[in-house]
């Protein structure tokens, strides 16, 4: 297992109180595998990624029972050891490519700086490597691009440069935090293609954070659905997307607009009423309680246990595995 | 040039915030601290004749260069000592507050009047009026104030009134710059457009619609320029081309003390400290104003 995370917690100070952004998250990613981390804004997926990279704000607290990249224990590393790891064995790209590059340095310089920070390469070797990796992400005229400044490139090109920067030291794991959300659909498709190719070429593990289920359908091997700081469902793409077990996942998938009108008789877009709550205290209740259409009394008393659904994925709910099928069967019987 | 485009932070809701202002101000430590000092200096200046133990102009050959109360050779009736002409230092310092406050307030009011008017006109009418006024502002910015002030005073002849007028005629640049940019920002807002549509006169629009809403950054500029004026007058008097003897300007007192300062250091420590405290209080008040009028969440 490339990345092994167990019981990750992240708390942030919030005006005197503590905000529990991540409350006991388990993740695992194998080499060459893409894990999509899905959820609404505020569910803690970005915080999880930052926690893995060691990029949390200074006053944030992180603790985990297990936090391992390969054989390295990430939890026990000092800041400088962590910084040596970043960009070399694990790298991350972010959502907004327009502001993610330093405006006063040519992009060649920025790429070479990263490479030379992590290797003992000299200037010429770094430049050659930078050109090589720029070409591998589909940038034509790479030698010319090296001398250009970020403001001379479009958003899609800038994101490619950032991907190149993330790949230049051949990392084992790459985390992508909604890298295509700010781009138009065509560019989005191109970027996803580049990422998948890069992953295949290097047998790289990838965590792809998104709220777009269409993207998940295209690139995920495994899917983890997060809600209010916890993973509520986790399994293969087939299992989670085709046979979702958790009420939240079902709600998410149902709310994707389908051309043709969705269910027979459906006139409005389905949505999940309410907002993601923020947690300041330890809570024994199910996080989805306030918005769940299948809530029961027990949901307000004990934390939901992790069960295994018929399709193979795990989900955290008081409902019994197979509840979806039995309800559907029940409806059919009555109908 | 770049100085002209510095954008002030205009609060989002301007007039609406007024009820809360004093409540917030009362709790702001810097505001209270600097406010108390400024008020104290103002009161000292106003009530100088009642507070000063002696006549600041009365000389006494016998009692020259007596040190202040913390020194062993001190004289009882002169708490802060005497200067080289035997004049009571405490009284001179108290009366000096009058001069500094007069300069500060007078020059600032005058320069505010000039600068704000120019800025309103430049910001409201773009086109050649704006270009003309901007050129004037840039010209003024290019000329070093202290040299111009000295030159003019040298020509006209130094006195307190001349200094106030000259500084008032020179310190308006920041008022104009800030007013101009703020006016340009505000002119796009709806209440200005509706005033125009209703046929209000330009004067009304400028002074009753726009000006009240750009008060915030202007109050900050006023504090900066007031501190500037006080220190400039002190410098002018120090160089002999400001307030003339025997008036007790703090700057002049420093100049007069230059020859005796090696043996009687209090002669320069005290007036300088007064200038420092006044300038500090004004600057802190400006910082507090900036905090209190920063728009948004406050």
């Amino acid at each position: 297992m490339l990345l092994d995370v167990h019981d990750l917690h992240v708390t942030l100070p919030d005006q005197g109180r503590k905000l529990r952004a991540v409350r006991g998250v388990d993740l695992s990613v194998a080499a060459g595998e893409t894990l999509c981390l899905v959820g609404e804004s505020g569910c803690g997926k970005s915080m999880t990624a930052l926690a893995l990279m060691g990029l949390l704000p200074r006053r944030a607290e992180r603790r985990a029972a297990r936090l391992r990249l390969g054989l390295t224990d990430l939890g026990g590393l000092s800041d400088s050891a962590m910084s040596a790891l970043r960009g070399r064995r694990m790298s991350m790209i972010f959502q907004e490519p327009m502001t993610a590059l330093n405006p006063v340095f040519p992009i060649g310089d920025q790429l070479c700086s990263v490479y030379r920070r992590h290797t003992r390469a000299n200037g010429a070797a770094a430049r050659a490597r930078a050109i090589e990796v720029l070409e591998s992400v589909g940038l034509t005229n790479a030698a010319l691009r090296m001398r250009q400044y970020p403001h001379q490139l479009s958003g899609g090109l800038r994101q490619r440069v950032l991907i190149a920067m993330a790949l230049i030291c051949e990392p084992e794991l790459m985390i992508c935090d909604e890298p295509t959300t700010a781009l138009d659909v065509t560019t989005q498709a191109q970027i996803l293609h580049i990422l998948k190719e890069a992953q295949a070429a290097r047998n790289m593990g990838m965590i792809f954070i998104t709220h777009d289920l269409g993207v998940v359908a295209r690139i995920a091997d495994r899917v983890a659905v997060m809600y209010a700081g916890r993973v509520v469902e986790e399994g293969t793409r087939e299992a989670v997307l085709r046979h979702p077990a958790h009420p939240y996942t079902r709600g998410l998938i149902a709310s994707v607009p389908k051309p043709g009108g969705g269910e027979p008789g459906q006139t409005r877009l389905a949505s999940i009423a309410g907002n993601v709550p923020a947690f300041h205290q330890e809570d024994a209740r199910c996080p989805f309680l306030s918005r769940c259409l299948q809530r029961m009394d027990v949901c307000a008393e004990t934390p939901p246990p992790v069960r295994q659904a018929p399709a193979g994925q795990s989900f955290a709910c008081h409902l019994l595995p197979g509840w979806v099928e039995s309800r559907a069967a029940g409806v059919e019987k009555r109908a | 040039m770049t100085a002209l485009s510095a954008a002030p932070a205009l609060p989002e809701e301007e007039l609406v915030r007024r009820p809360g202002f004093w409540a917030k101000a009362r709790r702001h430590r810097t505001f209270v601290f600097s406010g108390i000092i400024l008020l104290a200096i103002l009161l000292i200046a106003v009530f100088a004749p009642l507070l000063a133990p002696h006549d600041p102009f009365m000389q006494s050959i016998a009692l020259r260069l007596k040190p202040p109360f913390w020194h062993d050779k001190t004289v009882a009736e002169h708490l802060l000592g005497t200067d080289q002409l035997g004049r009571d230092y405490l009284s001179r310092l108290i009366y000096g507050a009058r001069i500094s406050m007069a300069i500060g307030i007078g020059a600032t009011l005058m320069s505010a009047l000039i600068g704000i008017t120019l800025g309103l006109l430049a910001g409201y009418y773009s086109g050649w009026i704006d270009t003309a006024i901007s050129t004037v502002i840039t010209t003024r910015l290019s000329m070093p104030i202290i040299l111009i002030a000295l030159a003019v005073v040298a020509i006209v002849g130094p006195s307190l009134t001349v200094v106030i007028v000259v500084l008032g005629l020179l310190l308006w640049d920041q008022f104009a710059v800030v007013t101009r940019v703020a006016t340009q920002q505000v002119c796009t807002r709806d209440y200005v457009t509706s005033a125009r549509v209703l046929g209000c006169s330009v004067g009304h629009i400028l002074f009753r619609e726009i000006l009240p809403n750009i008060r915030a950054p202007l109050m900050v500029v006023a504090t900066v320029e007031m501190a500037h004026a006080v220190l400039l007058e002190a410098a002018l008097s120090f160089l002999g081309l400001g307030v003339q003897a025997p008036l007790p300007s703090w700057g002049l007192m420093l100049s007069e003390a230059k020859t005796a300062m090696f043996f009687s250091p209090w002669l320069i420590v005290l007036p300088g400290a007064c200038l420092f405290i006044l300038a500090l209080a004004i600057n802190l008040m400006g910082d507090a104003m900036r905090d209190l009028t920063a728009g948004g969440r406050g």
Partner: protein, 297 residues
């Protein structure tokens, strides 16, 4: 715009020396009789119409003739050029000192906001701006020159003579520079591109001093140019306290004795230098900030 401003400045200086005060009185002396004054006016062509005299004034300027001092009876330009090195040295030393304190302190305050370092920087900023610089100069003289006897307090023979004056002149310039660096660095350190660099493993030292600083320092260049201009004007006070024989001291002497040609020449020169400095700052900004280098692609 700069050209227009220069013209206006030259007009103002002309007015100062030829209209606001009577050059005939300046040349002949205060005790001159009316007959003397009439002779002077004719000899020097002071009875010609103003526009003609202004044209001649500009013509002279362009040839390097800034007029003749009433008192020293020497070409003004010569007198100024003799003293310019002292003032230039003072201004540059003061600016160097101000930057040497403002840059590290501003960076430190931005890296560790709301800590002791930050509070210290704020105290220094507020104090530096409120202290009357001539008072600071006098205090420095008393403490360092007399009581401790570490540094010389008058004259301009050695570099050591410039230390106290540079400190005095620099204290006023330091606070705005430090505040600007601090604000700029705080903003830059919170930016996305610094986050990217950090995510790529760039070391904190390089992050601050190479990646962040180059962005934050851009507005400081313009401010430093403006401050340098102020220093040239403000040198008048510092030079007279420390008896440095520079342009400022010359200005003060001329003003005390109403030597108008010298005064207007100095004002003109310093204004010109100021305009050139701001233009140079714009140019430097254009060089350092690639986004300003014109539309490419």
């Amino acid at each position: 715009m700069a050209a227009v401003v220069m013209v206006i400045v030259s007009v103002i200086c002309f007015v100062l020396s030829n209209v606001a005060s009577d050059p005939a009185v300046g040349i002949a002396g205060a005790q001159a009789t009316d007959a003397d004054l009439a002779v002077v006016r004719q000899t020097y062509g002071l009875d010609r119409p103003l526009p003609v005299r202004y044209a001649e004034y500009i013509g002279n300027l362009l040839q390097g003739d800034f007029g003749t001092s009433y008192l020293a009876k020497r070409p003004v330009l010569e007198m100024i050029l003799e003293r310019l090195p002292v003032t230039a040295l003072l201004a540059f030393l003061s600016m160097a000192l101000a930057l040497a304190i403002a840059l590290p302190l501003g960076c430190a305050a931005a890296l560790w906001p709301n800590t002791l370092v930050d509070r210290l920087s704020q105290v220094l900023a507020v104090t530096g701006q409120a202290i009357p610089n001539f008072w600071a100069g006098l205090l420095l003289i008393v403490v360092f020159g007399v009581q401790l006897r570490w540094l010389p307090i008058s004259g301009s023979d050695t570099l050591a003579h410039f230390v106290l004056p540079a400190i005095t002149l620099g204290t006023f310039a330091m606070p705005p520079l430090m505040r600007l660096i601090r604000a700029g660095m705080i903003e830059v350190l919170a930016s996305d591109y610094i986050r990217t660099a950090r995510a790529m493993g760039i070391r904190p030292f390089a992050l601050t001093f190479k990646y962040a600083l180059k962005n934050a320092v851009l507005p400081v260049i313009s401010l430093a140019a403006v401050q340098l201009g102020f220093m040239l004007g403000g040198s008048i006070v510092v030079e007279s306290i420390f008896a440095l024989n520079g342009v400022g001291y010359l200005a003060w002497q001329s003003m005390s004795r109403s030597d108008m040609p010298v005064i207007q020449a100095i004002v003109l020169l310093i204004s010109m230098i100021y305009i050139v400095l701001t233009l140079a700052a714009d140019l430097l900004n254009g060089i350092m900030d690639p986004r300003l280098r014109g539309a490419r692609k």
